[in-house]
């Protein structure tokens, strides 16, 4: 578990040093006025694709010999488009997606606590009304 804590720390340091947790960088991104965030996400995705291709070709295994738990999302579009849109609105208002919500707290911008409470309430509300939503 210490390893996981350290990995999380590296991730938190990286997103802070890379200004990914800055509300200003997110505004720039949604206004299409800077390459920075596209470079960050695009760079991660390009390397991620290469990793997944190499892992598939080399039949890489996770610790304990299990296959890698690579994401397979259920087919469909409604939940992804609608849920994604709602999340995108929240991302643009707070300047934080879920990782940065917590990293911003560590960086000492205390009012983000209100957004974290909001995110927990939002998650709870989803659990209540999910049966009535298109998926």
């Amino acid at each position: 578990m210490l390893r996981i804590f350290l990995l999380g720390s590296i991730f938190g340091i990286t997103l802070t040093m890379g200004e990914v947790i800055s509300w200003f960088r997110i505004q720039e991104m949604f206004r299409f006025e800077s390459f920075h965030m596209y470079g960050v996400i695009g760079g991660a995705v390009v390397l991620g694709v290469l990793f997944n291709l190499a892992a598939k070709r080399g039949q890489w295994k996770a610790e304990g010999g299990k296959p890698l738990d690579i994401y397979q999302y259920e087919f469909g579009w409604k939940r992804y488009l609608l849920g994604g849109t709602v999340f995108g609105m929240g991302w643009a208002i707070t300047g934080a997606c879920p990782g940065p919500l917590f990293i911003t707290l560590g960086a000492g911008y205390w009012p983000i606590v209100i957004a974290i409470i909001g995110a927990l309430i939002g998650t709870f509300l989803y659990g209540i009304v999910m049966r009535n939503l298109p998926h």
Binding site: G12, L81, A107, Y109, Y126
Partner: protein, 187 residues
């Protein structure tokens, strides 16, 4: 303390990919927003909805990961990063200044939303609460956030993730073009 300069995208992006790869090779998945569900489960939300009935202990490693990110944010901000402003595009800075964010271009985060003044400002607090609500509700509805869809899902060439990312930008555009120009001048 060390006054380091911010890291460019070609340092930040690859480290994010390494984080994802390390979690996969350890038999786990890179997905932050599922922690919100775990936290609701621990708080007893399973009494109200089956969505929260699952063995949260299988996800406890992810909570440790989150604790690590909090520590990382503190280490970077207080020990490593030079306390300078984020060097955003001057066009973005002047546009934000014109709708009430006076420190755009001169700060790491807008003080009206993230500084001590925010506590005295009902509109700022309401914005943070509403934004947070959308983040929690939307990521659970879409079954993933930036880490799960934009990074992990796109890396695995998952169509649903591409649809989700299109949604992220639709929502972001609606807010940055429509909502913020109305809300921010109220601050």
């Amino acid at each position: 303390m060390l006054d380091l300069q911010p890291w460019p995208w070609y340092v930040t992006g690859p480290i994010i990919a390494v984080t994802m790869a390390t979690l996969l090779l350890s038999g786990r998945r890179f997905g932050i927003s599922s922690n919100l569900r775990t936290m609701c489960t621990i708080a007893g939300a399973g009494k109200v909805s089956d969505y929260f009935k699952f063995n949260w202990k299988s996800q406890s490693w992810n909570l440790i990961f989150i604790l690590g990110t909090v520590a990382g944010g503190a280490i970077a901000r207080f020990l490593l990063l030079s306390p300078g402003p984020v060097d955003i595009n001057p066009d973005t800075a002047s546009a934000l200044q014109s709708i009430g964010i006076e420190d755009a271009g001169n700060a790491y985060a807008p003080s009206i939303l993230f500084g001590p003044d925010a506590w005295h400002h009902p509109v700022a607090l309401a914005m943070l609460l509403l934004g947070g609500l959308c983040v929690g509700f939307g990521t659970r509805w879409a079954n993933g956030c930036t880490s799960g869809h934009a990074i992990s899902g796109l890396s695995a060439l998952q169509w649903p993730s591409l649809i989700a990312v299109v949604g992220f930008f639709l929502g972001g555009l609606v807010v940055s073009q429509g909502l913020l120009p109305i809300l921010l001048p109220l601050l």
